[in-house]
C-alpha cells in the first residue's frame, strides 16, 4: 500500500517536471533581457546581433570564404550578405522557420517558428534598413484563375514541386511541399528562389500570373479525392501499384485460408 502511494507521488512529481519543461520558452533563440521599452529598430538590431550575425555578419555583410579558397578548417563561408535583400526575403525566411539555421551547412527546411510575430516584424524591418530592397508582396489569389494557374504551375514549378505541390527531389536537395505555405510566402519564394530554386522575376512571372499560381496551389491543398484515400498524392502509377500489392496480398492470404492440400489422407 505504502509502495503504491510512493509510486503515485513519484509519478505526479515527474508529471509536474514534464509540464514545467514543456512550458519553458523555446530554446535556441537569444533575446534581450526585456523587449519592452525598445523601439522596433532597436529590438530588430538586438535580435539580429544575437541570432543572425554569426553567419550573416554584424552589419549583414555576410561571412564569405576569403579569396574564393577555403579557409582554415575547410570553412566555405557561413551566410550570404543581406544588404539589398529587403523585407521580402527576411519575412519569408523567418515566417517559414527556415531561419535561424542550427548548422549553416544544412538545407533550410520548414520548422517551428521560434520568433514571435512582433520579433519577426522587428528583424524584418532591421534587415530592410540594411539597404534598399523589395518589400513584402501582397498577392491576391482571389484575383487569379485556377486553370491559368494550373498551366503556369506545370510549366514553371511542377518539374520539381510535382503536379499537386507535394514536393520531391533534385540532385543534392529535397524539394519542399507547398501545402503549408501562405499566399505571401509563395509569392516571396518565387521572387527569391530560396536555396537551389531558380529566381522568377516579374518579367518571367508577372504579379497577375503569380496570383493564378497561388490560386492553383490553394486549390490543391485540399484536393477532392473522389477515389477515396489520397495516399500522399504520389501519382497514378505508384497508387496503382499500392492497390495491386494490397489486393495481391489479400488474394494470396485468402487462397492460403481456403485451400487444402490434396492427398493428405
Amino acid at each position: 500500500m505504502r509502495r503504491a502511494r510512493t509510486f503515485v507521488a513519484l509519478a505526479l512529481v515527474l508529471l509536474g517536471v514534464a509540464t514545467v519543461a514543456h512550458a519553458e520558452l523555446p530554446s535556441g533563440i537569444s533575446r534581450p533581457d526585456s523587449e519592452r521599452g525598445l523601439s522596433q529598430q532597436e529590438l530588430g538590431a538586438q535580435l539580429f546581433a544575437g541570432n543572425c550575425a554569426t553567419c550573416h555578419g554584424i552589419a549583414g555583410e555576410g561571412v564569405l570564404p576569403p579569396n574564393r579558397t577555403r579557409g582554415a578548417g575547410n570553412v566555405r563561408g557561413l551566410g550570404p550578405p543581406l544588404k539589398g535583400v529587403g523585407a521580402l526575403a527576411a519575412d519569408f525566411y523567418l515566417t517559414t522557420g527556415f531561419m535561424p539555421l542550427q548548422d549553416p551547412q544544412q538545407q533550410p527546411w520548414r520548422r517551428r517558428v521560434e520568433f514571435t510575430p512582433k520579433e519577426i516584424a522587428a528583424i524584418t524591418q532591421y534587415v530592410a534598413s540594411l539597404g534598399p530592397g523589395p518589400s513584402i508582396p501582397r498577392p491576391d489569389p482571389s484575383a487569379g484563375s485556377v486553370s491559368v494557374g494550373f498551366h503556369l504551375f506545370t510549366e514553371h514549378c511542377a518539374g520539381c514541386h510535382q503536379a499537386v505541390a507535394e514536393g520531391g527531389y533534385v540532385t543534392n536537395v529535397r524539394v519542399p511541399k507547398l501545402k503549408q505555405d501562405t499566399a505571401t510566402q509563395i509569392a516571396e519564394a518565387v521572387r527569391i528562389g530560396p536555396n537551389l530554386m531558380p529566381v522568377f522575376s516579374k518579367h518571367d512571372i508577372s504579379d497577375r500570373q503569380l496570383n493564378s499560381i497561388i490560386a492553383y496551389i490553394e486549390s490543391v491543398k485540399h484536393p477532392n479525392d473522389r477515389g477515396g484515400w489520397g495516399i500522399g498524392h504520389i501519382g497514378p502509377v505508384p497508387e496503382g501499384m499500392f492497390t495491386w500489392l494490397v489486393a495481391a496480398v489479400a488474394l494470396v492470404a485468402l487462397c492460403v485460408l481456403i485451400g487444402e492440400r490434396l492427398g493428405k489422407a
Binding site: Y169, N195, L196, M197, P198, V199, F200, H203, G228
Partner: protein, 332 residues
C-alpha cells in the same frame, strides 16, 4: 472421357427419374445433410443480395458526400458475401471424394518402334545429310530474318545521319514560344529560359534549347568554346542525352560557397549537367555531355546561334561521338 461418361450417367439418371423408370445405382456416395451450413448459405446469399440492392439505391439516389466510397462498399460487400457463399458450398455442402488414377499403359509399344523404323528408312536416299541440313537452315533462317526486317522502320539502324540533324545554324535567332526574339539584355541570372530556332520546325528534337546566364568569371568552358557564351549567356539542348526527356529543372545555388554548383537536372532519372563547364555530366545515368549551342549577340542586341551544337542532340546511339551535328544546308 471419364467425366463425359459420368455426365451421361447423370443425364440418363435424371431423365430416367423423370420418366419414372425406377432408380439407378448411385455414383456419388450419399452425403450427410447439413441444415446449419444450408442456413448459413441462405444468409450469405441474402446478404449479398441486400448489398447489391444497396448499390442500386446509392447509385440511383445518392447525392450525399463520399458516394463513390458507399458504392464501392456496397458492390464490394455483395461480391465478398457471394464469394463466402461459394466457399461455404465448396467446403461444407458438395459431396467430395478423392480419386487417383494410374498412368495408362502404353497401348501399342510394338507399332511405335515400327513407326520409328519406317521414318528412319524412308530417308535413306539422302547421302549428303549435312549439306541438305545446312541449306534448309539457311532457307529457314533467311525467311525468318525477312519477316523481322520491317522492324528496321522503327528507327534508323544503318544510316544514322538523320539523327544528327539539327535546325540550328550560324545566325539563327533564338525566339520565345510566341516567336518574339530573345534579347541578351532580358536574360537574367539565377533563372532559365526555353528558346526555339526562328522559322524552323519546333517538333524536331534538336529545336528546344535552355538559356541560362552565369557570371563570366564563373565559366569553366574548354578553350575552343571561349567565344560561345557572350556576357556569360549559355545555351544548351533541352533534351537529356540519356533517355530524351526535357530538362525541366535548373538548380542554382543561392549561396554558392555552401551549395551545389548551378546545373540542369533531368526530372526523369536525375541526370545532372554542369552548365559552367560545357554541360559535362555531374551525376546520373547520362553517358555524354549535354550538347552546347554557341551563342552570339547581333548589333541589335538579339541572341543568335553562333553555329551548330557541340554534338548530336538527344539519346545516344552507336557512333554518336564519331560525327558532329548537321545544320540545314550542310551537304554531308
Amino acid at each position: 472421357m471419364k467425366k463425359l461418361r459420368r455426365f451421361a450417367f447423370i443425364f440418363g439418371a435424371a431423365s430416367g427419374t423423370l420418366r419414372g423408370k425406377g432408380h439407378r445405382k448411385r455414383i456419388v456416395e450419399k452425403g450427410e445433410s447439413d441444415p446449419a451450413a444450408e442456413l448459413w448459405l441462405v444468409g450469405l446469399l441474402l446478404l449479398s443480395a441486400i448489398f447489391a440492392v444497396g448499390f442500386i439505391v446509392v447509385y440511383a439516389t445518392g447525392r450525399w458526400p463520399h458516394r463513390t466510397q458507399y458504392e464501392g462498399i456496397a458492390l464490394g460487400g455483395s461480391l465478398a458475401f457471394m464469394a463466402a457463399a461459394l466457399i461455404l458450398v465448396a467446403k461444407r455442402l458438395i459431396v467430395t471424394e478423392e480419386l487417383t488414377e494410374e498412368y495408362p499403359e502404353e497401348e501399342h509399344p510394338k507399332e511405335q518402334v515400327e513407326v520409328n523404323q519406317i521414318v528412319r528408312e524412308s530417308g535413306s536416299r539422302f547421302t549428303r545429310r549435312k549439306l541438305v541440313g545446312g541449306a534448309a537452315t539457311a532457307a529457314g533462317g533467311a525467311l525468318g530474318l525477312a519477316l523481322v526486317a520491317p522492324a528496321l522502320s522503327l528507327g534508323p539502324a544503318l544510316d544514322t545521319d538523320e539523327l544528327r540533324w539539327s535546325p540550328w545554324k550560324r545566325g539563327t535567332r533564338l525566339v520565345h514560344e510566341d516567336g518574339a526574339p530573345f534579347s541578351a539584355s532580358e536574360i537574367e541570372k539565377d533563372t532559365f529560359y526555353t528558346a526555339y530556332p526562328e522559322h524552323e520546325p519546333r517538333s524536331d528534337i534538336a529545336a528546344p534549347v535552355v538559356i541560362v546566364r552565369l557570371d563570366p568569371s564563373e565559366l569553366r568552358l574548354p578553350p575552343e568554346r571561349k567565344d560561345w557564351a557572350p556576357l556569360g549567356i549559355l545555351a544548351y539542348s533541352k533534351i537529356c542525352t540519356h533517355a530524351g526527356c526535357a530538362l525541366g529543372l535548373y538548380r542554382k545555388p543561392m549561396f554558392p560557397p555552401v551549395e551545389p554548383s548551378p546545373a540542369l537536372v533531368c526530372p526523369c532519372h536525375y541526370s545532372t549537367f554542369d552548365v559552367a563547364d560545357g554541360g559535362n555530366v555531374l551525376f546520373g545515368p547520362a553517358g555524354r555531355a549535354l550538347p552546347q549551342l554557341p551563342l552570339m549577340i547581333d548589333r541589335r542586341g538579339r541572341l543568335r546561334a553562333g553555329g551548330n551544337f557541340s554534338g548530336p542532340v538527344g539519346p545516344s546511339w552507336w557512333g554518336v561521338r564519331k560525327k558532329p551535328a548537321v545544320s540545314p544546308g550542310d551537304n554531308s
